[in-house]
Amino acid sequence: MYREALREAIDEEMARNDLVFIIGEGIAERGGSYKVTEGLLDKYGSLRVRDTPIAEAGMIGVGVGAAIAGARPIVEILYVDFAMLGMDMIVNQAAKFRLMTGGDGRVPFVMRTQGGTGGGVAAQHSQSLEALFYHIPGLKVVMPSTPADAKGLLKYAMRQDDPVMFLEHKHLYMTKGMVPDGEHIIEFGKGDIKRSGTDVTLIAWSNMIPRSLEAAAELAEQGISVEVIDPRTLVPLDREMILQSVSKTKRAVIVQEANRRGGIASDIASIIQEEAFWDLDAPVEIVAGLDIPVPFNLTLEAASVPQKPDIVAAVKRCIHQDNYSAAAE
């Protein structure tokens, strides 16, 4: 399971390096709201696995400061929405420190948190805020979609000297998948082809990967071959994999759960049109959340973010299938 894979990564890295410690709300005694850190307190003691008060600004500040001082902290923030309280430490301190010390300083700081919709937990607990971090030079942004990726990427993150925003998804903690034992490490900037195809390239991340794979399976039954690409890390972004796939399929659909405006999908679309313009047979499609606060009502919440039929429809627009259908009538 995704959460077990994360725990395995933290456990292995804590065993490997005494400088690694983890702090967060309810992560020690209760094992974390999502049970990622269960059992770690017993194993590593209260010095390295620490509960904190509900004070995100303080937690993030502690984490950034400890990282600058040479430790390797993991700060777990219960909801990415709450990370806003620590934005100054992240944006103005962690992201800039290495550059502003002439390259001498290091901030090996990992913020683990989770976002996304899916529980009817309303507008302040459901956001997908990766674009905020993506926008800030100096931050790495990681969004694993599978248990194996979660472990490999977290282990790699914990060995970096620069701040990493490790963004999990509240819907993925219970997903299952094979996870390699031991030294399973996934470098940043290496995307993964989650499904190979020839007609359309579908780019998605985090919880949009399982949804895109479902759409691809449905489309396959209709004879449409979709390639699903998971960049896994948004910063750095595996542009090469995206461009190679698009030059093969000539069509791209980007799916993001976050609302459309100012999103990462728009940035990837601009990269595609700039680098692969002459390979495109259709405009790049973006399937994204609506530009509204996520509604509390479960039906409205579902309507506010991409669902399988939205993805299927976008792929069909891309291959101009509507024109066929209309013409055949």
Binding site: D281, H320, N323, A327
Partner: protein, 426 residues
Amino acid sequence: MAEAILVPQVGQDLTEATVVELHVKVGDKVAKGDLVAVVESEKASFEVEAFAEGFVINLPYSVGDVATVLEPLMHLGAEGETVAPTASASASEPATSSVVDVQSSVSELKTNSKKSSMAVDGPLRASPAARKRVFEAGQMLSQFRGSGPLGAIVLRDVEAQLSTVAAQTAGAQSVPGLKNLKSGHGDPIIFIHGFGSDLSSWRPTVGQLGLENPMYALDLPGHGSCWDLKAKSFDELVDYVAQTISPLGGSLHLVGHSLGAAVAVALSERGSIDIRSMSLLSPAGMGAGINAQFIDGFLGAKSEAALKTWMQSLVRDPDDMAPVLVRATLKARSEADLVGSQQELARGLFENGTQLFSIVNGLRRFNGAASVVIGTDDAIVQSSDVIARTPPHAALYKLSGIGHLPQIECPSLVNTIVARTVKSAS
């Protein structure tokens, strides 16, 4: 009888011309010499005149339409007369054949000819990938029909159309020096033009034969696009043609006019090519005499009026020599030194009215199907020689009241003869 005014050849080897002005409409009476239309290609524009008096009884084009060169632009006839639809009508809608099943992985999706109704007015729309593919294939975007949003040409349209073309020409290889005038299947038919002409003279014939065979034509050295290839003797001409068509391999049918007919027979003597049939129109080399005055006058003519006089001697009825052909010849001469090359060639072929080559023995030895077509009023070669020396196994068609250009003077009859000759040997 309805007579066609042809779309002029508006430049070397161009197949299409845009109708930019029309000065008549169906039912109008025109006098000989009236300006009826102006057509334009990327190279030049041509005024088209009526060659005879009559009424416009058929005018399939509007201003802005693209017309096929040397196909009828309009028909003249008696008042109230109608013209039977000909195969050339299909030439105005070539794009429809391009609508085929899509060769994409979206196999169950089919294109539909109705989709052209999706098109909207405006600039030609095409996806970047489609544009790139068209460019790589060396084609023009305007040749493709779009099935995408707002009628845009998308990749599948290009791929489908290109694969159709590829399939059609699969049996017809691309050979340097040979122009593929029509794709098809079966043994290829090669057309060889006469002295002073070029391969484009066969375009009207090709579409009217009703044969499925792939059809090729070539320009003889000193003619058309090969104007700068010097040939100084008949043998050099034959060498060139033998070399040019050899990549085709297999069996061939030859159709030659005048000098081209002589080259065809000489090729059969080489024995290196399996020639199934020969259709020889007004063949040269069947006797000693040739109209030297014509050769000199034709090559020496500088003005349209002078050239017209000489070219009219090719046909019995001067009206059969469409002014557009005279102008096209003049135009071609202005673009390349055809005259110089042809004068040089003429010196190697003819000497004071004597033909320096003979195909009489060659034709006698040819054991494939052969047809000889000769007009009794041929002013260039002596019809009596041709008639006397055509061997018994060749079919001889004596056409009374016809001059040196039977394919222009009585095209349907000549087309029937050629088609029959090819079929008899298939």
